[in-house]
Amino acid sequence: MKHFSISFIVGGGLSVLFLMGALLSFFWTPYDVELLNIKGKFASPGLEHLMGTDHFGRDILSMVMVGTRNAIAVSLIAVGIGATIGVPLGLWAAATCMNGSRLIDELLMRGNDLIFAFPSLLLAILITAVFGPSIINAIIAIGIFNIPVFARISRGAALSIWPKEYISAARVAGKGVSRISYEHILPNILNLLIVQATIQFSIAIIAEASLSYVGLGSQPPNPSLGRMLNEAQTMIFFAPWLAYFPGGVIVALVLGFNLMGDGIRDLLDPKLRQKSITGKVSNDAS
């Protein structure tokens, strides 16, 4: 029986809560997010509007729900893009590094460094500025600065698997580099990648919020947490709830995924698992 750490329980709980809220917004929100109600503007949080209304009288709770949905969708797709391009690149680099020709490895990793050299948010702003602000471009921008992260981490992990004897055994069996990478290397570095993905996910949430804060993310009337914060800025002194709720949701969302990532790492990392009686660390990672 595995013992779940507190961070896993808290983080997992928060993440599941937000995921449920986001899923619910597909079918039902308390009010229509595009419905303007000028008469009921700046209503404080109360029974009718749990989180109050904004300067157009839109329901904040509904907007937060849809905004969370957008943030999660953008981050999920962006991290997915980063992983599906970055991981194969990293595996390829490791394989060429271990089998003689280091040229491809060098080229790939220096290309990586080039992307790394740009501040990630600046790069995202650059891309959306060139191709126009839209939710698709935000996804692509966040995805691109995720690629080198995954490439580098999978290359490093793969390099530690390559010298193992079971890789030699697979090569003796005649298996090629790509097959070995897929069959033997990838499953053994997967837990590392999952942990990294949760961390990248929370970074992507912030990136999405930042992009829409400067107006380069999803466009109105589609609600987004970052833009809600931007709009709240001028009204923060007489309607502070406009900033509290979207800001709080961003913090809780990022915290939840970070904690869950830590928890997953503790669960999967054999070094951190309970030590056996002999004091040796159990060496399987199933």
Partner: protein, 532 residues
Amino acid sequence: MTLLKVKDFSLSINDEIILHNINMEIKAGKVLAIVGESGSGKSMMSSAIINLLPQGAKLKGKILLNNDNLLDKSEREMCLHRMNDLGMIFQEPMTALNPLETIGTQIMEAIKLTNPKIRYKDLLKKAELILERVEMDKNRFPLNTYPHKLSGGQRQRVVIAIALSQNPKLLIADEPTTALDVTTQAKIMKLLMKLVKDYGIGIILVSHDLAVVADLADHIVIMRKGKVVEQGDTKTFFKSMKHSYSKQLFDAAKHKLYEKNITVGSEVLLEVLNLTKEYNLANKKPLKAVNNVSFTLNRGENLGLVGESGCGKSTLARCILGLEKFSKGKIHIAGRPFYGQKELRRCINVVFQDPFGSFNPRHTVERLVAEPFYVLKKPLTTFEKRVKVLRMLKLVGLGDGDLKKYPHEFSGGQRQRIAIARALITEPDIILLDESTSALDVIIRTQILDLLRDLTKKLGISYLFISHDLTTVKNITNRVLVMKDGVIVEEGLTAEIYKNPKHHYTKSLIEASPDITRAIKSKEENNNENTL
């Protein structure tokens, strides 16, 4: 005088019984050997004496050091005992020293603990003296040497020096030579014996191999599953031993010579011609790991390749397997040049040394054993594969139920059986055994060796057995190559080389390899001298 007495000692960790009712006794200036397989509790026993146990340990009974019960001591008092009376030598010399500190600093640190007010000049002198005691020349190994410049044997000497620096009364050596080459092992053992003789230190020698300790120990304790199976004075022990497990250990340690009546075919399966493998080192001339090596392996032949670690035998194996590109020379398999192409891969397979590292931990046994099928031209169906895997598992002594298990569910010996199954599944002509039994306990080792011999005979497979241990090779090959520094220095029939070695290196290898019959004989002679 009794130095240490263990009385009715039991140990349990998290309510699991590890040691049960142990009694033993060691006198000053004598050697006590604890022998047993891995998991027998022998290492736990030695850790218990020095009280370095994992959390959750519950102790019962008494461990008396000079009639003073160590189990009643607080951690603070125990520290003093560890400082003044007890010394410990660990198995792995590669990790027992701090790589960032010079050997001098590490020895002096230990001296300073017992003698905090010592002047720096005296400290230096004392450290040099201690290094001399472990036969480390101060001109070759000054105090400011870093551990990475030393070989395994030299590091183990430094570890012993550190243990000695506090003038211990009792030295606990937990498999001190298991990680070392045979020739180095013999030297370290000799050094330990000198310490016993010259300084009257008592030594507890923990080992899995009866042959290693038979020569040195005054008293032998055989342990199994946390219990003392049998113990006695070495002089009489081998004659009077009664327990079947002791006998089993004894038989395993007594290597038989390989039966000679095998038929070697004339067909050449593997031919290595003037093979050279060079490594380019920065700012130095290239290192020839394998230097102009030529040999052949005929059908039905069992060839051995012996040499110390670093002599290039594993590099040679990797070249033959097509895992490493070689600089010069040729390799022919079944008469065709081999450079790693798939068609010839089928003819050759390998069993590696490490039973833990040679399997992908995420694959089932079925998938692991079936992996070499990939090399076949015509792919098999899942059903055909399963039938073949099952048949092979049965041949190596595993059951149908093991098909869906994962490697971590097996012991070292069982894993090596799976590795053999994987190597044999495509019915290759040649298998390479790269130290395939070095990581195993002696009894398991003989079982695996017997299995290999029977199976290869039954299936008509030739093998190249690579080992650092001449006695293992003697047991299982009919021809042997001796390798040193990348060159083959001697070649011939195993029985002949063993009886009549020509090269001085081969001679030193044979002399250094532990031999239990020889050890018993010398013990008896000593005994007779003493009584005369």
